[in-house]
């Protein structure tokens, strides 16, 4: 029995090693000195530590701060738009006898059925007319459209699960619908709101095709788009692998960070929203 336990432990650790090694390799490559980072064949471990690659990334084209601002700004706007739209909508769907509710819910979940990849061309044409291409707001709208069904689904379930007694107590006290939303429902649905915000952040921070299509000016690129462009940069004699690893490391940190901090919310969102 205990031999089986050791075997399971050993297999688990081996799997962990395999899964972590690509990430570790990237982080280690990002702190190699310039010459070593460009070596062929590569070295396994850095001979000495250096932040050269991060310095080159800091100054790459428009500069890292610009790309971080674009990525972060889009993600924050996406969270904001998503919550502003789906919190009231979830409240309305879960707590009011809305006429034609079933039909409206299906319309709202339409983006679930139509892949956004297919809608990008008409969206691009519309955004070009509205001046929303090369705009963080425009990209955040695309990301909100992607994220809306999942968020609505998770929030509606959470709003529906709030006990009726709580709402009735507020109504007896003479609370209006806005007051009960603020005093009863928002506090009671915090976990679902965190889940929705977390998913919106990770999706927006990582999303590639929409950002590639909507942003044509390099000053408006998000982090994944500028890194993808940097991979084929040949003007200085080939790809700057060290800088690419620095960029990959910086892209990964926020996602893995918030995931490890808010793991419980992430997994619960995954379970309840496996619809998408």
């Amino acid at each position: 029995m205990s031999r089986a336990r050791y075997l399971v432990g050993a297999v688990c650790l081996a799997i962990c090693a395999v899964m972590i090694s690509p990430l570790l390799a990237s982080v280690l490559a990002s702190v190699k000195p310039t010459a070593e980072a460009a070596a062929s064949p590569p070295t396994y471990l850095p001979g000495s530590l250096s932040l050269d690659s991060y310095e080159r990334l800091w100054e790459y084209q428009q500069g890292l701060p610009t790309y971080l601002f674009n990525s972060l700004g889009t993600a924050v706007l996406t969270i904001l738009f998503t919550l502003l739209l789906t919190v009231p909508a979830a409240y309305g769907l879960a707590r009011f006898p809305v006429p034609g509710k079933e039909f409206l819910f299906v319309v709202l979940l339409l983006a679930l059925i139509v892949p956004y990849q297919a809608l990008l061309t008409p969206m691009f044409l519309m955004f070009a007319k509205l001046g929303l291409t090369n705009s963080l707001t425009g990209l955040a709208i695309v990301h909100t459209a992607i994220q809306l069904p999942f968020s609505l689904y998770v929030l509606r379930n959470s709003f529906a699960a709030v006990p009726r007694e709580l709402e009735e107590a507020a109504i007896v006290d003479g609370a209006s619908s806005v007051q009960s939303l603020r005093r009863v429902f928002l506090p009671a649905t915090v976990p679902a709101t965190v889940t929705v915000a977390l998913f919106a952040f990770i999706m927006s921070w990582n999303e590639f095709l929409g950002a590639l299509v909507m942003m044509s000016k390099s000053s408006k690129f998000t982090l994944p788009v500028v890194l993808a462009a940097a991979r084929t940069e040949t003007s200085l004699g080939g790809t700057d692998w060290g800088m690419l690893q620095a960029g990959i490391t910086i892209s990964i940190i926020p996602c893995v960070g918030v995931y490890l901090l808010l793991q419980r919310y992430y997994v619960s969102g995954l379970m309840s929203g496996a619809v998408k």
Binding site: I15, T121, N206, Q245, Q263
Partner: protein
């Protein structure tokens, strides 16, 4: 009893911003796409009505079939790997010992990393002269000379990309499978232990049948995700060699943006959306059943 207490129209008011958003940014683009697909349009010239020409043109387009066939091949290879691998990982880590929890967290971590960024990471790992894959294989004497993984041979590129995507998404299925396995009532498991069932019997007679719906659900999600693959191919092969590794979404992207064949691109988008729709409907039927 509760009549008049909460007015339906007030509820509609709460719904209206989201409804308006979906009408403008999902329903309208969808209608526009359908309209575009019936026109010949290149941004430079005004749109011209061509009926279903864009659709018939797709069926005569060699690249359409190359892309569709390649996407299908990719999907058919990666899905069983993800399901079987994810399920084995779930069986291994479904318990709650610290090492199992650690393994679940580690295996799941790449899921939250962007597909674009993970593709860049693997673009480097698979690079011929600078990548660790060749370095490790050379040092272990598995290969004599560096292998050109990406962009020269379509099948070899496909396998390299599949390896990278498996690394990135296998934790997704695993976590859902673990959830399903943990949801099996303990008395069922205990009864089977009392009856002296072996581990193998428990897996095949109890765990697998009781988690089958989740397996089907994850399979569908994996099929849908794979049919929509783009980032990994755009970044790792750029469709090379000769657009043999340009997936369906990649083909839509090429026609719509660099080539600016907007009408044709829209027709291709619609065909893609219809393919996905078929799978999504099945998926929604499956999820709906789980809530009742």
């Amino acid at each position: 009893m509760r009549r008049g207490r909460r007015n339906g129209w007030v509820g509609l008011a709460y719904l209206s911003p989201a409804l308006l958003f979906v009408l403008i940014f999902t329903v309208y683009p969808l209608a526009r796409m359908a309209w575009m697909s019936l026109h010949n349009w290149s941004l430079l010239t005004p749109p011209r009505w061509v009926g279903f020409d864009n659709y018939t043109r797709a069926f005569d387009d060699r690249q359409f079939w190359v892309s569709f066939g390649f996407t299908l091949k990719y999907t058919l290879i990666i899905t069983p790997i993800l399901i079987l691998g994810g399920y084995l990982l779930a069986l291994l880590t479904a318990g709650n010992s610290p090492v199992r929890r650690l393994t679940r967290t580690v295996v799941f971590t790449p899921v939250v990393i962007g597909l674009g960024v993970s593709s860049l990471l693997w673009y480097w790992l698979f690079s011929t002269d600078f990548g660790f894959v060749n370095k490790v294989l050379l040092d272990l004497h598995v290969i004599g000379d560096p292998v050109v993984w990406l962009g020269v041979d379509a099948d070899r590129s496909n396998w390299a990309i599949i390896a990278s995507v498996v690394w990135k998404v296998i934790g997704f299925g695993m976590v859902l499978f673990v959830g399903a396995i943990q949801a099996i009532p303990t008395d069922v498991t205990e009864a089977s232990l009392v009856d002296g069932a072996s581990y193998r019997q428990r897996v095949t007679r109890i765990i697998l049948p009781l988690t089958l719906r989740t397996v089907l659900l994850v399979t569908l999600l994996s099929v849908i995700g794979s049919l929509l693959a783009f980032d990994q191919f755009y970044i790792m092969t750029a469709g090379q060699p000769q657009n043999e590794t340009a997936t369906s979404v990649f083909f839509v992207y090429l026609n719509s943006f660099p080539y600016l064949k907007l009408g044709y691109g829209a027709a291709l988008s619609l065909l893609l959306a219809l393919t996905i729709l078929a799978f999504t409907v099945v998926q929604l039927l499956l999820t709906r059943r789980s809530h009742t």
